[in-house]
Symmetry: C2
Subunit: 213 residues, 2 copies
């Protein structure tokens, strides 16, 4: 599968490396490829680097791993024509660090970044997932409690969600809960304020939640 | 222990019954005791009924189990003089049902109901807890996955939190995470939008989360 990963932060590098490791053909997209290529060179030679637009045009599926505060801008640079009809896996969180730590949210309660992206790109199949865990757990969930913890998925398109579930399973995810349409991204994005406080209380980001019944 | 439980909804009835079952002397507080007494008569004869103010004056510790939308009003009716110096266990969530289902939050992101109550009653020791699970799990956590799931606690006063931890343990709670000061109530209150969507996806409110590391 040809995959586009937008964003060269910890999440973008983790997702692109893992996809390459699993045999996919990956192009990471960034605002400034020359600058990023240096950063990426030592990381993963298997991952191509291009502009946001080049990466989005390359991918049959697109992963949004940009910072939530600039995701809409990055996706506009990626280009609606390069995204239309494709599955967009939205991993971003609309974190606002301008008020200090822990961060607040730029969007919440009556809207979510997942919904904003879906509204801005109505012909893209937005699937929100992976935004509730740290990068290393996203790609190697089995290293934490043998994978016995939960991932959530939100989106309007059932076949897009089914495709993303298969990718999550290939990463090692066992328990995946379909929360419903893209508006349920409010739930997972609003979990972040609890997550950042658990990070503080536990002293590590290497944790996830399991639903117990 | 003499305990005041404000609110006669599912949570107030559950907490008051459980406290009585554990041998505490309980007075439930309500806006209209005559009306509530009928409701309570068949529930638990061991629980006294009074006004918000009578109940708050009676209790050495006070549980806020009123609806979040009217908690500040109910606590004003309970009376600052009746609350000052006491531990107030705040179980309420600022849910807004006026926009339809699932509910949104009346307060979130840069503030929380727990903090609003603490600011309105600076001499009360507000401890936020139990607001992340349904009433039956609050009082009988061991009936779900043998109690192998987590409760959170937020508050500014360490000794007040220690006292509430003992009460939680007497209910059956095993895993209790101290998130920090009362501002961390933002984390647990903002978890509710995920909780209500899990309620929808799982088809039951009889669940809780366990932290997996």
């Amino acid at each position: 599968m040809k995959a586009s990963v937008l964003g060269t932060g910890m999440v973008g590098l983790a997702i692109s490396s893992r996809l390459a490791e699993l045999g996919h053909d990956v192009m990471i997209g960034t605002r400034d490829p020359l600058k990023s290529e240096d950063k990426l060179a030592s990381k993963d030679a298997a991952v191509k680097v291009g502009t946001f637009a080049e990466s989005a045009a390359f991918g049959e599926i697109v992963f949004n791993a940009t910072k939530g505060a600039i995701s809409l801008e990055a996706l506009k640079l990626a280009g609606e024509a390069n995204l239309n009809g494709k599955v967009l896996v939205d991993i971003s969180n609309p974190l606002d660090f301008s008020r200090g730590m822990p961060p607040t949210l730029l969007i919440s309660n009556t809207d979510s970044l997942g919904e904003q992206i879906q509204r801005a790109f109505p012909q893209v199949k937005v699937v929100k997932t992976l935004n509730t865990v740290t990068a290393n757990i996203m790609i190697y969930p089995g290293q934490t409690a043998n994978g016995d913890h939960h991932m959530f998925i939100s989106g309007n398109d059932a076949s897009a969600k089914a495709q993303v579930v298969e990718i999550l399973k290939s990463f090692g995810w066992i328990h995946i809960v379909d929360l419903g349409d893209i508006s349920t991204a409010r739930g997972t994005e609003m979990y972040l304020p609890l997550w950042v406080r658990l990070l503080g209380a536990l002293g590590t980001g290497m944790f996830n939640i399991k639903i117990m019944k």
